[in-house]
């Protein structure tokens, strides 16, 4: 018979049973080859118990020196009263060791998980970042948070009078699911390096580039400049953190000519050899006159696209009519989100025909009065590469449990057959001619054929609300090898200085990326010489 059994056993329990939070480790993010892009480290966070802590000047200086901060800063972190306060979260191990070595009473350490991106800035706009408490804030970390994170809880274990703990048999850690991306670290590195070079060369304001498999929609690389280090997101500005490949619209300029081109072919308004008299060098539409960059005589439909004649494109647009231009624009995905699994994608816009003005027919066929994202344009051109299918771009390939079990896999792309293969084939030949003898010559590579289109578009000056004469967007979009595409690629350079044309600014970047990417992927050249064979010893 024990008196006050209930109360005493409860008191005993309070003394020798301790509760601890189960650590939640976010799942690892891997590239398509299994290379780690985001993982977790176990670090120690420093806390203080102000009621017990008594720091003299000497201790404060020692502590400040160990933490690499000024004594005044340390003092602001330690409140005068209270039972618990963080001093510094997630310290580097060597700093934690230095502080521990000082044996200051009232200071303690707690284990916490820190999210780390070991590749630095690589793929920062794709991966996103987390906050101090590992809460998802951007990018894939946010989009797939329900997979990457999991519920924690508490684990109860016993401890003796001297504070030693007994095993509870319960894992004090739970891990979220892992994510495998479609991104290739090597291709991502190549793309990021080349757009950074272009920025330096043309002193541009920003740049974006996306590489995609045109048959499956797998994004192989997606890069923006400026970039930031997701290990220190607080140091980056909002401008640097923008994933402009999907969040920023721009007027596509001549890359939009795919719409009138495909529409005209499909509606049997033109054939590749249909002639257009563009000798006047300009065309009046309503109150505006639109000019060609160069004066041409008579061009075939193929040459209108090859030489990117604005006059010819507007003529084709006039024959097509605004309803059909709008129809083919929507068919090619203009003005609609692609559905990529990243947060913040915008749809862009194209006004319905009833809202077109008297001059719209002179603007929209040449890619003005339309807003698109680089990904939308890439997807439209990928439809030419893959024989007429509109695919859904995606970044995540599969989600696996910490034990390796498959939880989610990107289902086979729901292919939308938007144009017949024959039309796609005809337009592909035209795009090849753009690179072979047209405005995109600087995108050509040795050993393989490139199909693509240049784009040069004026930006709206926010002050005057009119098209700027100095600020342009240069772009090039294409796919290679033209007949059996390994990937499609778009390069967009915002506000280059000195030169403005897509064929001069963006096309060489495209070429350099493609050369390195094909080499990295070990794709043989089409024109491999077989006259000599090198036999090597085993």
């Amino acid at each position: 018979m024990i008196l006050n059994h209930g109360m005493l056993s409860e008191k005993a329990k309070q003394q020798h049973v301790k509760a601890e939070d189960i650590q939640v480790k976010r799942g690892i993010i891997l590239d398509r080859e299994g290379r780690q892009l985001a993982l977790n480290l176990d670090l120690e966070s420093l806390y203080c118990e102000p009621e017990i802590l008594h720091l003299d000047n000497k201790s404060v200086k020692k502590l400040a020196s160990a933490m690499g901060e000024k004594p005044e800063v340390i003092l602001t972190k330690i409140p005068a009263e209270g039972k618990f306060a963080w001093v510094e979260r997630k310290l580097e191990p060597r700093i934690a060791e230095r502080i521990r070595g000082q044996n200051i009473k009232g200071l303690g350490f707690m284990n916490e998980a820190k999210r780390v991106y070991p590749k630095g800035k690589l793929a920062s706009h794709i991966l996103g970042f987390v906050g101090l408490d590992n809460q998802a804030l951007e990018g894939l970390e946010l989009q797939y948070d329900r997979y990457l994170s999991t519920r924690g809880g508490k684990v109860f274990f016993e401890r003796d009078a001297s504070g030693r703990t007994l095993s509870s048999g319960v894992d004090k850690e739970v891990r979220g699911n892992n994510i495998v991306l479609t991104i290739d670290e090597g291709l991502q590195g190549i793309v990021e390096k080349e757009i950074e070079k272009a920025i330096a060369k043309w002193k541009a304001v920003a740049a974006s580039a996306i590489m995609m498999d045109p048959f499956t929609g797998e994004i192989l690389a997606l890069a923006n400049w400026p970039s930031y280090d997701p290990n220190n997101p607080r140091k980056a500005s909002n401008f640097e953190k923008r994933n402009r490949a999907i969040t920023d619209c721009y007027e596509p300029g001549s890359t939009f000519k795919i719409v009138v081109g495909i529409g005209a072919l499909e509606e049997n308004i033109v054939r590749p050899d249909t002639l257009f008299d563009v000798s006047k060098g300009g065309i009046e539409v309503g109150t505006k006159t639109i000019h060609d960059v160069h004066r041409y005589g008579t061009l075939t439909f193929k040459e209108v696209i090859q030489k990117s004649s604005n006059v010819g494109s507007i003529m084709i647009g006039m024959r097509l009519g605004k309803e059909r231009i709008y129809k083919y624009a929507k068919l090619l995905g203009i003005g609609e989100k692609t559905g990529i699994d990243l947060p913040g994608e915008v749809s862009g816009w194209i006004h319905p025909p009833e809202r077109w003005s008297g001059t719209s027919l002179g603007a929209i066929p040449i890619g003005q009065e339309v807003a698109v994202t680089p990904l939308q344009i890439l997807r439209a051109y990928s439809a030419i590469a893959n024989g007429g299918f509109l695919i859904k771009p995606h970044i995540v390939s599969e989600v696996t449990s910490p034990e390796g079990q498959l939880i989610y896999s990107f289902a086979d792309n729901e292919l939308k057959h938007i144009i017949p293969a024959k039309t796609a084939e005809i337009f592909k030949e035209i795009l090849k001619s753009v690179v072979e003898g047209g405005t995109g010559e600087n995108a050509s590579i040795e050993g393989d054929e490139v199909a693509g289109k240049t784009g040069t578009a004026q930006r709206i000056d926010p002050k005057t609300k009119r098209y700027s004469k100095e600020k342009y967007i240069s772009s090039f979009v294409g796919f290679v090898p033209a007949d059996k595409p390994m990937f499609s690629l778009i390069v967009v350079i915002y506000e280059p200085k000195g030169q403005i044309y897509g064929g001069v600014v963006a096309a060489p970047v495209f070429r350099d990326i493609v050369n390195q990417a094909l080499s990295y992927l070990n794709i043989p050249r089409k024109n491999i010489p077989y006259e000599t064979t090198l036999l090597v010893a085993r």
């Binding site: 290379r35 780690q36 993982l39 977790n40 480290l41 176990d42 191990p93 284990n111 780390v116 070991p118 590749k119 630095g120 690589l122 274990f157 016993e158 030693r164 703990t165 007994l166 095993s167 048999g169 004090k172 670290e185 090597g186 991502q188 590195g189 190549i190 990021e192 390096k193 040795e446 050993g447 050369n515 390195q516 094909l518 080499s519 990295y520 043989p524 050249r525 491999i528 010489p529 006259e531 000599t532 064979t533 090198l534 036999l535 090597v536 010893a537 085993r538």
Partner: protein
Amino acid sequence: MIGIGRKKNMMSFLFKPLCIALLLFGQFSLIWLKSNVVTLEYKLSALEKKKAECIKERRMMLAEKAGLQSFVGLETENNGFVLPDRVRVIHVKRQKGSLPYKVSLTKKLLSETELQR
């Protein structure tokens, strides 16, 4: 008859001490087992701490390894890792069957007429 009676007396005489001994033995066994269990729990707890330390170190090294293997870090001319110029790469078609154990450059076979000349 007397023998059976004696036996019965012996049994009842031994029965109680046996039970007490068994009880005591049982108690001590229980205490000993409990003590062992608690000792094991202490050891397990220590091992768990050690395991946590090892996992922590392993994660550090994995992160370091991932950073060192970064393609961007490797791919510099200073490190000697440069993507080859595709123009200079010759691809050899894999032939079925065993390859000859020699290194040679074989020219395209001359036609008989060229040989006759």
